[in-house]
Structures are given as structure tokens and as C-alpha cells.
Symmetry: C2
Subunit: 176 residues, 2 copies
Amino acid sequence: MTKIAVLIGKDFEDSEYSQPAQAFKQAGFDLVHLGLKKDEIVTGKKQNTPVRIDMEVDAANPDDFDALLIPGGYSPDNLRAHKGPIRFVKHFMESEKPVFAICHGPQLLISAGKLEGRKATGWKSLTCDIKYAGAEFEDKEVVVDGNLVTSRQPSDIPAFVEACLKMLEKVRDKAA
Amino acid sequence: MTKIAVLIGKDFEDSEYSQPAQAFKQAGFDLVHLGLKKDEIVTGKKQNTPVRIDMEVDAANPDDFDALLIPGGYSPDNLRAHKGPIRFVKHFMESEKPVFAICHGPQLLISAGKLEGRKATGWKSLTCDIKYAGAEFEDKEVVVDGNLVTSRQPSDIPAFVEACLKMLEKVRDKAA
């Protein structure tokens, strides 16, 4: 089964988790929620959507997952204050498997030192950070560069999910 | 009277506003709270400390202030999604008047393009952003570089306030 790691922490942007998660599950993909503490319930910053952490990110092996989803909100900044999430993202980006980051999600890619030379987008407050990190910032609803899919904000979710699913289907077809 | 602009938005780190603000007022300095909307009450992310915005930042003239305080929390990232706060910080940094930024405060300095070649510190999640922005990151409780004072986190507040007050006293002495 194609397994997607969801890297998530407190105060995530609810819709940027719940809508892609629902679409991925409906399409038959398996989600594993990685966070700072196993069994912790983290909540979204607007609707308090609860998410139970399935596995501590420090205990997770990037090789066990086929793709990575990083929802936005304050979650990425909270996670990147710790070494484990940065290490996981770095390793995952090096594997060249699909990485989906929306809104503040690219903050984790910056801290992992993995945006250099990439095309990417993100929440407007990060424009400067993304450029300084060596990426080409594109103000578009979705930017696909190799295995990296990025979007700016909740209103981009339909385009984001479409691009992610397209990539996930390819992974599943290859494995079949 | 020596006037300090406090650039503040929702979900600021309570202590990083309230403790410096109290110390500055006690020392006889005047505070003017600049934000996105005049008369809006913005609150801290932990204790819901209320702060009334005295003046819309778009209507504020940096020349009317002697120093700038930027508390941390989620406030700097919320503010830098708008042009006004970035423009104000850019202009202020160019004036070479004292700028005090703690925790996530340096995010506004990055978006203003004003950290290049400076020595600075900030909340650990920003380490990468600060370095990419061209600054020399120092993991110290307070870093003073010219008129720029930066600190990392709430536990640094005593050292931060001490360095700020030292600089403010100099400004007051000069004006006297």
C-alpha cells in the first residue's frame, strides 16, 4: 500500500491538513501522522481539528514512506524548532520521493537546506525566506518541480490536491 | 519625549511585549503601538494579554519615533504578510535608530531585506532563515550590532531589556 507520511504539529491550518488527507484516503492511500510525541493529539489553529500522532518522527524511517505531506499554519515553525523533523525532511528530500508542502510548509524545507535551486511557492509571508534559501519563488496556486509540489494558501487546495494525486497515482502504478 | 514604536499583531508572545514595555515605561519612555488597524485589540498567544493599536502602521511616519520594538510569537509573521509593516521596518532600519527584535521579531527584518551583513540572533526555528538572509547568527541571549539589539526567547528578556535600556538612555541623553 502506498503510504504517505503527514508531518504535523500544533496549530496547523485545519483545511490544509483535512482536505488533502480526505482526498488521499478516498483515493485509497494510507496516511501515517508523524509528530513530536506518539499518541499526542495536536489541533488546528482555526477549527481545533484533532489529529492523533501515530509515530514519533524521531522513530520514523523515511524509507518506509512513499510520499510526505506538510500542512501549513504554525505547525511547520513549531516542528522546525526540533532536530527530528528537520532530519526527516532532509532525508526525505534526498530520496527524491514526492513531497507536498503548502502555505508555511516550505519552512521545513528551508530548515532542511533543501530549497536551493528549486522552483517553489508558499504563503506570502515566506516569499523572502524562500528566495533567500535559493529557490525561485513563483506566485502561482501550485508549483510542481520534479517531485516537489508546493502551494500558497487554503484557496489553492483544489489545485494542490490535484497535483499531489497525479504524482501519487504514478507512484502506485509503478509499484503495481 | 523619547518615543518607542511597538510593532505588534495578533498572537504575539505575551512576555516579550509586556516585560520590555513595562521596563521602558518605568524608565520614562513613551510607547506607541503600531499595527494593522487603529483601535483594534490584539492579544498574546499564551495569556491573551490585550494591546490596543494606537496607530495604523501605514499612517505612521518612522521619523516620528526614536526606537522600534518588535516582540515575537506569531505576530511578526502575521504582520509581514502585509506591505505596511515591512515598509515601516525597512525605513526604520535605514534611519539607523535603535531597533529591538526578540524571538520571531527578526522575521520582519528579513522581509525588509535588512539583515544582510549584520550580527543577529533569534528564535531557534529561524536560525536558517537568518543565515540565508545574510546575517551572522549568534546563539547568545543578546546580540548588539550597531543600533540593532536581538534576542532568542523569553528567558533572554532580562539581558534584552538591559541592552535596550542602555541604548535608549543614550538617545535620551543626546536629545537632552
